[in-house]
């Protein structure tokens, strides 16, 4: 007969390992993919899920060891899930503003990137440098 605490230990171990694997996959995508617009996908989705899994595992662990429901982890999880899309949106706006180079087979590109295709000198020219 498997006891209650053994089952809960298995569930906590599963959440911890899943969180580590998700965070590792997100960072691998950040390090390996070709252009910035692809690299933005990995951390903004996967790392949030990884840390969320780890926080759920720690919530179950501290609820079982202290015999009280611990809600601080839930606060961090909700905060991360709210703020990660906002920072990803700001970074994408930043990259479109700077007209970063992109993978040439990208489909459905926004018009900011099409302007760069027509005028190739615009990417090289720094916008903040004053004219002599």
């Amino acid at each position: 007969m498997i006891g209650f605490y053994t089952v809960m230990e298995g569930i906590i171990a599963f959440f911890l390992v899943a969180g580590g694997v998700f965070a590792f996959i997100g960072s691998l995508g950040l390090a390996r993919l070709q252009d910035f617009y692809m690299r933005l996908h990995g951390p903004s989705k996967t790392s949030t899920l990884g840390v969320g899994c780890t926080l759920i595992g720690s919530m179950i662990y501290f609820s079982l060891t202290n015999h009280t429901i611990s809600l601080q982890e839930l606060l961090i999880t909700i905060f991360l899930f709210v703020t990660a899309p906002v920072s990803a949106h700001m970074l994408a706006k930043c990259a479109l503003h700077q007209k970063l180079p992109h993978y040439e087979r990208t489909k459905g590109r926004p018009e900011e990137l099409d302007e760069e295709q027509e005028d190739p000198d615009a990417a090289d020219r720094p916008s903040t440098t004053p004219a002599p």
Binding site: E9, G10, I12, A13, F14, L16, V17, G19, G20, V21, A23, F24, G26, S27, L28, L30, A31, F36, R39, L40, P43, S47, T48, G50, V51, T54, L55, G57, S58, Y61, F62, T65, S70, Q72, E73, L75, I76, F79, L80, T83, A84, V86, S87, M90, L91, K93, C94, A95, H97, Q98, L100, T128
Partner: protein
């Protein structure tokens, strides 16, 4: 079982932070570096949580919450600076 899972997860988080440091070092543009720093603070929150489980104490949860808030605010501030050339107009 929990000890083994804790060590596996710690190793994966450390490798993830090393990959972020790699992207932060070679990153060809400025938004790449900001994204690497953003991912690095999210991963450091995971490391702090695992450290809390290892110590069996809830002392460092406030540190994790502070890192989450300040990291988000600094990411938005640097992005705003790159977009507009100014943070508060």
């Amino acid at each position: 079982m929990l000890d083994t899972a804790l060590w596996i997860s710690l190793a994966l988080f450390v490798v993830a932070i090393l990959l972020n440091v790699y992207r932060l070092t070679i990153g060809p543009s400025l938004p790449d570096r900001i994204l690497a720093l953003d991912t690095m603070y999210v991963n450091s929150i995971g490391l702090i949580i695992l450290f809390c489980i290892w110590l069996n104490s809830k002392t460092y949860f406030e540190a994790a919450l502070l890192i989450a808030m300040l990291g988000f605010i600094s990411t938005v501030a640097v992005c705003k600076y790159l977009l507009r050339g100014d943070i508060i107009e």
